[in-house]
């Protein structure tokens, strides 16, 4: 039983962390219809920025915020490549992803893993100390849950503002954005900045859990995030009161649970990426069979 609870806690913690990225990819993929591969580079960017800052004595919460900004900057670069220089969406993402590899190594000072053991993190420093013992023991789940909730609520709010409505129109009908007197390209760049900011945030939180940043941690992130978003939105879309952001969070948790179950059943860890690719393929197929995405691409 305790083993099971421990497993559940891991699934929830990881699920909430990756849900930050899933919500970001929800913006780029679902709202803007942009398959953004730069995520593979901006996830470790968040981790590396965080590690360098915390080693430099910066407040971990501030490091979290600055990671978001670093991710946004990289995301807007993807946007500029695509919108202003007219490079295809996939290639723009690949270019930024490739460039980030070097950027991340520059940030970590050429090491593949940058550690910051026993430095203050969002899990050990500040208000978190005030938690009663019972909760403090579960602080990873508590903090990651609160972060996922905060980002979800912020995004829900943003998507209902004027700028948010404009972002939603840009994905559906860019001619409509033009009619409203706005440049749809600028709106797209903003959406990519937001999506990659969220992704870097996930990288930052993951780094703070392990107290180290791994330059290689971005491999397969696109595949993971896309699968989480598609699973979440297709499995839960019949529940009408759920917002899409909530579906992305649930998708991420469910996705992590699938991986965890597979590992428990004895899947060797080096098969994990294969399973991830299979899961995304299955998610994409089931989506096409249910006809939802097909309608949209025709419109």
């Amino acid at each position: 039983m305790t083993i099971f609870l421990g497993q559940a806690e891991t699934v929830l913690r990881e699920g909430f962390i990756y849900s930050l990225m899933a919500m970001g990819v929800f913006i780029t993929y679902k709202i803007l219809d942009f398959p953004d591969l730069s995520v593979d580079g901006t996830f470790p960017l968040g981790a590396c920025v965080t590690a360098a800052l915390i080693n430099g004595g910066i407040n971990p919460w501030l490091a979290l915020l600055l990671s978001f900004l670093a991710g946004s900057l990289a995301g807007s670069l993807t946007g500029v490549l695509h919108v202003r220089l007219r490079i295809t969406d996939l290639l723009s993402g690949i270019l930024v992803m490739t460039a980030m590899w070097s950027v991340n190594l520059i940030i970590t000072g050429k090491s593949a893993i940058l550690q910051f053991f026993n430095r203050p993190t969002i899990f050990t420093w500040g208000v978190i100390r005030l938690l009663p013992d019972g909760l403090y023991r579960h602080r990873y789940v508590v903090v990651t849950f609160l972060l996922a909730l905060a980002v979800k609520l912020l995004l829900d709010w943003f998507l209902r503002t004027k700028q948010g409505l404009l972002l939603r129109s840009a994905g559906d009908n860019s001619q409509y954005v033009i009619s409203l007197g706005k440049d749809p390209g600028t709106v797209k760049i903003l959406g990519l900045a937001l999506g990659n900011g969220c992704t870097a945030l996930a990288g930052s939180v993951l780094a703070q859990v392990g107290e180290n940043a791994d330059v290689n941690s971005g491999k397969g992130m696109v595949v993971m995030a896309l699968a989480a978003v598609i699973m979440g939105t297709s499995l839960f879309r019949r529940i009408s009161f759920l917002r899409s952001t909530t579906m992305a969070v649930l998708g991420a948790v469910l996705y992590k649970a699938c991986l965890q179950v597979a590992l428990q059943l004895g899947l060797p860890p080096h098969y994990l990426k294969l399973l991830m690719a299979l899961l995304l393929t299955a998610a994409l197929l089931s989506q096409r069979l249910s006809g939802k995405k097909g309608e949209k691409s025709l419109a």
């Binding site: 209902r160 503002t161 004027k162 409505l165 939603r168 559906d172 001619q175 033009i178 409203l180 749809p184």
Partner: protein
């Protein structure tokens, strides 16, 4: 009366436009084409496919740049002004009812966005509840019952309903020119009649200047104050006032057929 009233609202000056330049399929559509629109005119443009009707609208709206020549709006040159900036002055309704609205947003959200045109799209609430009554009163004018469905996503509406809504959206804020790009062509006969009736009403009520491309000769004759027939990048008929009133479908068809015979069709 101020003197400016005599100056045209929009001028296209010595426009040249070729498609597929430097290829075997190169076509010079416009060679030294000039055209002007006066304040308060409602122009119907007819002509066969490839005569340059839609290209004329695209040049006005800035969707495509001319190879040479200039475009003026109220005597200000806008030749290089991007389409999204011109949209502040020019409203457009497309043939495709999908283009004038956002399907995943509700009717209310679509109207709120349109209402905000020309102002910054910041972080204030997307839908201003204080304007709800105004939006509903505007929807009532369409007589489609949409005022009771404001929370419905626009994607759930029929083509005719969407096009009526697109008309409302494109004229929500003050504009200098309304561009109607075969906007009834994709609708069934009933919806088409209704949208055309609404268009005429909106243009009259708001005192708009409008240019409408249509394949429906009856609409071209019945509505508007000036009629233009285009052929191979030129205007072959351009009649306004009394001359326009005496223009019948038969007259249009006669010219139309003469041209077709000339072209060997």
């Amino acid at each position: 009366m101020p003197e400016t009233i005599n100056l045209p609202l929009v001028r296209l000056e010595h426009i040249c436009k070729a498609f597929n330049p430097r290829t075997v399929s190169e076509t010079d559509l416009f060679r030294d084409f000039s055209f002007s629109i006066r304040e308060g005119e409602f122009i119907s443009v007819v002509g066969s496919n490839g005569s340059g009707k839609t290209t004329l609208l695209n040049l006005l709206c800035g969707s495509i740049p001319p190879d040479s020549g200039a475009v003026f709006l109220r005597e200000r040159e806008i030749t290089r002004m991007p389409e999204y900036r011109r949209a502040a002055h020019i409203g457009r309704v497309f043939q495709d009812p999908m283009k004038g609205t956002c399907p995943t947003l509700t009717i209310l959200e679509n109207l709120s966005l349109a209402d905000n045109k020309g102002r910054p799209f910041g972080l204030s609430r997307g839908v201003d509840k204080k304007r709800l009554d105004y939006y509903k009163s505007q929807l009532e004018l369409l007589h489609l019952g949409l005022e009771d469905k404001v929370e419905l996503p626009v994607g759930a509406l029929s083509g005719g309903q969407r096009q009526a809504l697109a008309l409302l959206i494109s004229t929500m804020t003050p504009i200098d020119l309304l561009v109607l790009d075969e906007h009834t062509a994709a609708l069934d006969p009933n919806s088409s009649e209704n949208v055309m009736y609404l268009t005429d009403k909106v243009v009259r009520d708001k005192g708009l200047t409008a240019i409408m491309v249509t394949h429906n000769l009856r609409y071209a004759v019945e509505y508007g104050s000036r009629i233009v027939m285009m052929h191979a990048g030129r205007t072959v008929i351009d009649a306004a006032g009394e001359q326009k009133k005496s223009c019948a479908i038969e007259d249009l068809l006669k010219v139309f057929n003469e041209i077709s015979i000339e072209c060997g069709n």
